[in-house]
Amino acid sequence: MSHPVPVLALLLASALPAAAARQAPPEARVDAAVWTAVEPVLSAARRDSLPIDALRSKVFEGAAKGVAPERIRVVVQEMADDFRSVRNALRGAGARAAGDAAAGAPVPAPAPAPGEVVAAAMAVRQGIPLDAVLRLWRARPDGVAGSLEVPLVVLTEIVRRGVDVPQAEALMGTVVANRVPAHVAAQLPGRLDGALAAGTPPGQALDAAVRALNLPRPPGRNPGRRPIR
């Protein structure tokens, strides 16, 4: 090669448009019509400190799936409404719990993290009563700021698999209060699937999963047989 520099420059110049396309921000993949439709919803959500990333993600998802702008707006609006409702409820529950702990003294309530608001809204949308979500929120030990995102998702998944809400709520409340690590709690749905596949009724399947993971039992429940070590 006599003059590699001009050849390299030519190749680089030809490759730059492809590189520029790849580094385009995700906003560039969304039509202007979609942004026009959703911008008022996003602006209101931003002003209200709602989990804006989750709402924007739904916009990206809708655009990627070729959904009409108006439909995307409706879905994002519903999500924002759910977030607002659940976030306010969590804030209220947190304030009451903190106030109780300090014997009436005004204590700043722990603010729910965006992931917790999203998970709580998803739980409610999938049929978990809001009161059950709030009780789980209050079950956190004082001074512990661990995320409830995973416990909320696990609660939803357990109920979706047929376990009744009180039993699932009692178990997850115990899991949260005893600070069971998230990676252990996250195994519950999979363990439950194994027992359900063997024909075990959901309630008993949950007990089997609890034993298998050696989780603490909710008060009042039969501890059952210890797992073989």
């Binding site: 006599s2 580094q23 998802e61 799936k65 998702v153």
Partner: protein, 194 residues
């Protein structure tokens, strides 16, 4: 050699000898001539940037072997791929922030069985739902597509895109949820210490 030819040769030799003498004679120049020429060269010399520009703009024939062109292309592609501004394949974290950002990432395996597929891509909220998200690899050619992806701890929704067109949830996922648009998304819970 004939006398006439001999005469021609002598004349030619004399002419060449005279020419040589004139070439060998020292050139004369007036006193200070060399100094004046060099001063003028320095005064009128082009700046470095101009010489560089001329070098860049001067057309020249380039000879490239096919192997050389391939090497140069590979080098250019490597530079573009490795450059921080080039992006490369979509990476987790480009999309919306997730809970757990700032903590150690957890390598998460995604598997999708599609024997007839020509390509499978993983997309989800961890790559802002980019359809070209993360390509899965059918390394054994048996239709089992796989990718290991480092993710921050959190809960993510995702789907697979088969052959760039068909959206499919993950049958192996812990959960499927309604995406609000008439399809299903899969859910993955990423935790540390698993």
């Amino acid at each position: 050699m004939s006398p006439a030819r001999k005469g021609d040769t002598r004349r030619e030799e004399a002419r060449l000898r005279a020419l040589l003498e004139s070439v060998r004679a020292p050139e004369w120049a007036p006193p200070g001539f060399a100094a004046r020429v060099m001063a003028r060269v320095r005064r009128e010399g082009r700046p470095a940037w101009r010489r560089a520009l001329d070098w860049l703009l001067r057309p020249r024939a380039v000879r490239v072997t096919p192997a050389g062109a391939l090497l140069a292309g590979a080098a250019a592609a490597l530079v573009l791929w490795a450059a921080p501004w080039s992006g490369g394949p979509a990476q987790p974290g480009e999309g919306p922030a997730q809970a757990g950002a700032g903590t150690a990432q957890v390598v998460t395996r995604f598997v999708f069985v599609a024997p007839q597929a020509g390509s499978v891509h993983l997309t989800g909220d961890f790559v802002a739902w980019d359809q070209q998200g993360v390509p899965l690899d059918d390394a054994r050619g048996n239709g089992v597509w796989m990718v290991d992806l480092p993710l921050d701890p959190g809960v993510y929704q995702y789907a697979f895109v088969v052959d760039g067109l068909e959206w499919s949830p993950d049958p192996l996922a812990v959960s499927q949820v309604d995406d609000g648009f008439g399809r299903q998304n899969s859910v993955v819970i990423v935790t540390q210490g698993a």
